[in-house]
Symmetry: C2
Subunit: 200 residues, 2 copies
């Protein structure tokens, strides 16, 4: 398979590359690193990425940021920023990709545990993650030509505990290599419209 991985230089993206590269033709893309450059927030940038790489069999997104902070201090602009980045960014990959992937190909997007459980400072993340679940379950019945779409929702990664551990007290962490398996399951399996929760 020819597989595009966006956000491939991050902790999770690197693990996905390690999982898939031994048996597939992997193209990496990111804001500042990888085989190609893309800003998912900008649909024209997404279009140019697809133009540059040609038809692919699978698209994996492990990119996107949200606003973390107390709801009481959150501004409308900060909230909108998370919607534009992690949510609409990944949606743009699907809107532009749905006419370009090879028949039977797949999209795999990334959400996270926040929202399945409530977390302090996490309301923007919970909103974006809930949105992605709604998007994936509904897009699965609308996509043409046997295209599939799934969502991977990992708990906190072991490698992220230094940065985010305080937010996730009491939650088990999972190795990035374990989370990466869910992307393999999505891209190499037959499922669609599913949310793969990893490590919780």
């Amino acid at each position: 398979m020819k597989i595009l991985i966006v956000g491939a230089t991050g902790t999770l993206g690197s693990a996905i590359v390690n999982e898939l590269k031994p048996r597939h033709h992997v193209i990496t893309a990111g804001r500042s690193g990888g085989d190609a450059r893309v800003d998912l927030k900008d649909v024209d940038s997404v279009r140019r990425l697809y133009d540059a790489i040609g038809p692919v069999d699978a698209v994996i997104a492990a990119a996107g940021s949200v606003h973390f902070g107390p709801l009481g201090d959150t501004t409308s602009a900060q909230f909108a920023g998370g919607l534009a980045d992690k949510l609409l960014g990944q949606v743009n990959l699907v809107l532009e990709g749905q006419h370009r992937l090879n028949a039977g190909g797949s999209f795999t997007l990334t959400s996270g545990i926040i929202g399945d459980a409530p977390f302090r400072d996490g309301t923007n993340a919970a909103t974006v993650n809930g949105a992605l679940a709604g998007f994936v379950r509904n897009a699965a019945v609308e996509l043409p030509r046997g295209l599939r779409i799934n969502l991977v929702s990992p708990t906190v990664l072991e490698a992220s505990l230094d940065a985010y551990g305080a937010l996730f007290r009491g939650h088990p962490a999972t190795p990035a290599s374990r989370a990466a398996l869910a992307y393999s399951r999505s891209a190499e399996g037959a499922e669609t419209g599913q949310v793969f929760r990893v490590g919780y």
Copy 2:
């Protein structure tokens, strides 16, 4: 109680007013009708509304539109429009209202059945509705001073069958008066962080 109802002139909003007005001080607001004017997409407009009406005990939103249409034809701008209107509009009511409601007050937002089940043409709606569920469940643990927040998710209303019936074949419709009860349950009860599904 002093209750603000936004979107009070719509089918659902009118039914909510009918349910609550006999026993509460109801203030209605909307884009083009009601006691006060507000454009929820514009956070400054929301701020001016709260300034004008003073502290309230409950805020109810029955407003917001999304994009309906095949995913294959949906543009990024159309998709973003639904996020800005039905999602961020209702979020703005909470972000601005959380410091102004009387202690123990409540927010009640509105989603819908699309996303709990997948529907053709409904991916934008499913995304927005999933986002609202994530928002409400997480905001419930972040809101200060005993403030509560719930989400009402009605199936198609009987009064909307002429306009939307074709989208909802095989789904029972519910009277707007039945859906209105869920807003009473949220505003007049003790629950928080809940999704009240009505008629499905």
